[in-house]
Amino acid sequence: MDRHDDQIVVRIEGLRKEFNGVQVLKGVDLSIRAGEVAFIIGPSGGGKSTLLRCMNFLETPTGGTIKFRGEALCHEENGSIRIKPESAIRQARAKMPMVFQHFNLFNHRNVLQNVIEGPVRVLKQDREKAIGEAQEILRSLGLSAEMEKYPAQLSGGQKQRVAIARALAMDPEVILFDEPTSALDPELVSGVLETIRVLAQKGRTMVVVSHEMGFARSLADQVYFVADGVVRESGPPDHLFNNPQTDQLKRFMSSILR
C-alpha cells in the first residue's frame, strides 16, 4: 500500500447487485478518501440508492468488493460473494451510518432519545455521557429547543437535522446521505444543505446522493455520475460539469438545469 491508499476509507470494486435476476449495479468502482465529500448524481432508477444501501448493507451485494478501512466486508471467492459475519457488518454500519430521504426517525422516541439510542444500544456508551454528547450535537445543529419533542411535532427540515444528529452521535468515519433534501418543502431545503456544508467544513467524510447540482458543485471533492448501474463519469465537480464527456451526462445536466 502506498501513502495514498492509507487515506482511503471506503474502496468499492466491481460492485454488483441484482434483484430477481435484474442487474441494477453492474460493476461499480469508487474510492472515498478521508475528509472527502463525494457526490453521487444521476438519473432516477440509475442505481444511486442501491449503491448507498449496499455500502450500508441494507442490501446484500451479489458481487464485487467493499472495503472499509482496509477490511473487506464482502469479496468474491471462486465466483461467489462472501459477506463478513453479521457482527462485523454491524460494526461497519455503526461507523458508516446512513441518512435517509424520508428521515426514518424512531417515531416513539423524542429527539434526544432518537440521538442517544445508537450510542447507548450499539456503542454501549454510558447513558449520561451519551446524553451530554447528544445535547452538544443537537445544540450545534440548532435543535436545542426541540430535544423533548417527538418526530411528529417537527418540520421536515428539523427531522432531517435530527437524523443527521443521530448519525453524528455514532462518531462515524463516513456518513451516507440518500437524497437528504428530496422529501422537503422547498423553503426547508437550504437549512439542511447548510448543515451538511458545515459538516464538510469540519472535515467530515461524506457520500451524498443529491439532485442539488449547485450544492454539489460548490461542496464536492469528487462527483460520480451513476447511470444504468455503472459509474459513467467521475472527477472533480468543475471538471465534470464543465466538460461532460458522455452524451448521457450532457443530457442529464440539461434535464436537471432546465
Binding site: N56, F57, L58, E86, R90, Q91, A92, R93, A94, K95, P97, M98, F100, H102, F103, N104, L105, F106, N107, H108, E117, G118, R121, V122, Y150, P151, A152, Q153, A163, R166, A167, M170
Partner: protein, 236 residues
C-alpha cells in the same frame, strides 16, 4: 321486585361473587398468557424458517375455525384419552389461551407489519442488532397500535369465560346454574348473573380505556384525535 333486590340478591350474592372472582381470575391469567404466546406466535409466523411459519399458520387456522366451546370440550374430555388429563381450571385456562393466542397473534402480526420498514432500516443503518430493533423499535410501536384491539379482546374474554362452565369450572354462570339446581329460581338467578356480567364488562371496558389513555403516547394521541383510530376493532 322488592324480593329480587333485597331478599334473593343478598342471599345468593356471596356464592355468585365467588363465581365472579373465578371468572376474573380465568380472564386475567388467560389474557396474560395469550399476550405472551400471541406475541411469540406472531414473531414465529414472520420467521425465515418455513417449517416454523407453516406449523404456526396451521395452529392459528385450526383454533380460529373451531368454536371455542368445542375446543374446551376436546381439551377437557378428549385429551385424557391420550393420557393428557388436566384439572378443569387449567383445562379452561389452556383452552382460552390457545384460542385467544391465535386471534392475538393476528392482531400483533398486523400491528408489526404496519410499522414502516424505514424504522427497521434506520436501526440497521446505525448498527443495531435484529433483537434490539425488534425490542426497542418495532414492538414498542406495534404494541401501542394493538392496544385498543387487545382491550376489546379482553372484554370478549370476560364473557367467553362463561363457556368454561361446560367443563365444570365454578365460574359465574355455573355458580348460578348450581343455585338454580337447588332453588329452581331460574328466572331470578339468570337475571342476577346477567347483571353481574354487565357490571363486570362495563367496569372492565372503562378500565381498559383508562389504560389505553395512559399508555398512548403524545405522538399517537395527535393521530387518534384526527380519527385514525382504525385499530378499534373490538372483540369478535
Amino acid at each position: 321486585m322488592y324480593d329480587f333486590f333485597f331478599v334473593l340478591f343478598p342471599r345468593y350474592l356471596p356464592s355468585l361473587l365467588e363465581g365472579t372472582v373465578m371468572t376474573i381470575t380465568l380472564s386475567i391469567l388467560s389474557m396474560a398468557a395469550s399476550i405472551a404466546c400471541g406475541l411469540l406466535v406472531a414473531l414465529g409466523r414472520m420467521s425465515r424458517f418455513r417449517l416454523v411459519r407453516m406449523v404456526l399458520n396451521a395452529y392459528v387456522e385450526v383454533f380460529r375455525d373451531i368454536p371455542l366451546i368445542v375446543q374446551l370440550l376436546v381439551i377437557y374430555f378428549s385429551l385424557p384419552q391420550f393420557g393428557i388429563s388436566l384439572p378443569a381450571f387449567w383445562a379452561g385456562v389452556l383452552g382460552l389461551t390457545l384460542n385467544l393466542s391465535a386471534y392475538l397473534s393476528e392482531v400483533f402480526r398486523a400491528a408489526i407489519m404496519s410499522i414502516d420498514k424505514g424504522q427497521r432500516e434506520a436501526g440497521l443503518s446505525i448498527g443495531m442488532s435484529a433483537y434490539t430493533i425488534q425490542t426497542r423499535i418495532i414492538l414498542p410501536q406495534a404494541l401501542r397500535i394493538a392496544l385498543p384491539t387487545m382491550g376489546g379482546y379482553f372484554i370478549s374474554l370476560l364473557k367467553d369465560c362463561s363457556l368454561v362452565s361446560f367443563i365444570a369450572v365454578n365460574e359465574l354462570l355455573r355458580k348460578g346454574t348450581m343455585i338454580i339446581a337447588t332453588t329452581f329460581k331460574s328466572m331470578e338467578v339468570y337475571m342476577m348473573v346477567a347483571i353481574i356480567y354487565f357490571v363486570l364488562s362495563f367496569v372492565a371496558s372503562r378500565i381498559v380505556i383508562r389504560i389505553e389513555r395512559k399508555l398512548t403516547p403524545k405522538y399517537l394521541l395527535e393521530e387518534l384525535r384526527r380519527g385514525n383510530g382504525a385499530a378499534h376493532a373490538g372483540g369478535r
